[in-house]
């Protein structure tokens, strides 16, 4: 073929660039992600239940937080009635969610880091201080 030198060199460069993400992670086995709910606040709860069920939260917490922020800031509604357990909660990431899940590094960050997701919630909403730090 014409220009075979340039073409083969170009193909090699392309292959390396395209497979860079995989090359970077060579050797990192697929670790099981287990967010930890081992916090003093959760341990002290008689019945360990969140605002909604674990399955719902795992798939929907992003949408729930989106809806929550519009309800509080735009509609002035601060009380949330849970679908799964009928309890009423105060709508607040900082003062409700993070009060129980006070271990951001072992809970929120576990999945977010694995998925390379960087939600900017905590640029504003103050995260709870790690215990002992």
């Amino acid at each position: 073929m014409y220009n075979s030198g340039k073409i083969i060199a170009g193909l090699a460069v392309f292959l390396i660039l395209a497979t860079l993400p995989f090359l970077f992670n060579l050797g990192n086995a697929n670790e099981k992600i287990e967010p930890s709910i081992n916090t003093p606040e959760i341990n002290a709860m008689p019945v360990k239940q969140c605002v909604e069920s674990k399955a719902f939260m795992r798939s929907e917490h992003m949408q729930l937080l989106n809806d929550w922020r519009d309800e509080v800031v735009r509609n002035g509604n601060r009380i949330y009635t849970s679908r799964s357990n009928g309890n009423q909660y105060s709508i607040s990431l900082q003062n409700t969610c993070m009060k129980c899940h006070s271990n951001k590094k072992d809970f929120c960050d576990k999945c977010h880091n694995y998925m390379a997701v960087k939600p900017y919630c905590w640029s504003c909403h103050i995260e709870p201080k790690e215990k002992g730090l």
């Binding site: 929907e60 949408q63 729930l64 989106n66 809806d67 929550w68 922020r69 519009d70 309800e71 800031v73 735009r74 509609n75 002035g76 509604n77 601060r78 009380i79 949330y80 009635t81 679908r83 105060s90 709508i91 900082q94 003062n95 900017y120 640029s123 504003c124 909403h125 103050i126 709870p128």
Partner: protein, 267 residues
């Protein structure tokens, strides 16, 4: 039907763009997950048709009296104190008569004491706000329930059109990261991030649980907060007894802060 390669590629490209574009717009505008019954207001919340303030600065005698009101607001809202004046963020501050009411100034025969008296200035929560009119995303909006001009920090794109529109200089922009400059941290309230506009929001988070705005509470009666549409409210009674003025009323924004002039024995 016969079509050459160029026509096929054009059709494919246009369909892709339209498909992705409309898909994004449709799902983006779509409703969230919550049913209407799931979110409700706190029964303790204070309600009004139109919130307003009456500010009587004759009740503020020393510098500390003013500072107490400012600190009450800035501390619980994590308002940063930056080193450089051009980056300053302030929700409530003081300035003298000439600067607060510049159109009425240039009067050399005016009462000297009034001319030098400090006034407390903050967002007027106008009934016809220019800032709301210009915001391209409704990040700043007027609450239908009680007339407070709100700020949605999540939606603000930082275009600063509202800052140009506000005739009262009530708004601040986060030019640099506010967190290092927050002197007193309130863990129950968020900070802001760079690139969004902020201002006094009439302590909506306190009103929602039945409390009064922080500045009013700390002002020892100098700032009175109430429902302007309720003829029996304290603010209306004060406005009936005393002479009050508003900042730049000729601009038609209908500010909701009424400043008492000539209150007390001294102005």
């Amino acid at each position: 039907m016969s079509m050459n390669r160029r026509q096929f590629l054009t059709l494919a490209g246009v369909s892709t763009v339209l498909g992705i574009g409309s898909g994004t717009v449709i799902t983006g505008i779509g409703k969230g997950n919550l049913e209407a019954s799931q979110a409700s207001p706190d029964p303790k919340a204070k309600k009004a048709k139109r919130w307003g303030f009456v500010v009587d600065v004759s009740k503020l005698k020393t510098g500390e009296d003013y500072q107490k009101c400012i600190d009450a607001c800035h501390n619980i809202h994590n308002v940063p104190s930056h080193k450089e004046k051009r980056h300053e963020v302030k929700w409530i501050w003081t300035d003298n008569y000439e600067h607060a009411f510049p159109n009425a100034a240039e009067d050399k025969f005016m009462n000297k004491e009034l001319q030098e008296k400090n006034f407390l200035l903050f967002c007027n929560h106008c009934a016809n706000p220019a800032c709301v009119r210009v915001c391209p995303t409704q990040a700043t909006f007027k609450r239908k329930s009680d007339g407070i001009v709100m700020q949605d920090m999540h939606r603000c794109i930082g275009c600063r059109f509202c800052m140009a529109a506000c005739p009262f200089g009530a708004r601040s922009f986060n030019y640099i990261d506010p967190r290092p400059a927050v002197k007193v941290e309130n863990k129950e309230f968020p900070t802001r991030m760079i690139g969004v506009v902020e201002k006094c929001t009439a302590c909506y988070e306190r009103l929602a649980i039945g409390k009064m705005p922080a500045c009013a509470e700390a002002s020892n009666g100098a700032i009175v907060f109430g429902d302007l549409e309720d003829p029996n409210s304290e603010v209306r009674k004060l406005m009936a007894e005393k002479y009050t003025i508003r900042r730049k009323p000729e601009l038609g924004t209908q500010p909701s802060i009424y400043y008492v002039i000539g209150g007390g024995e001294h102005v």
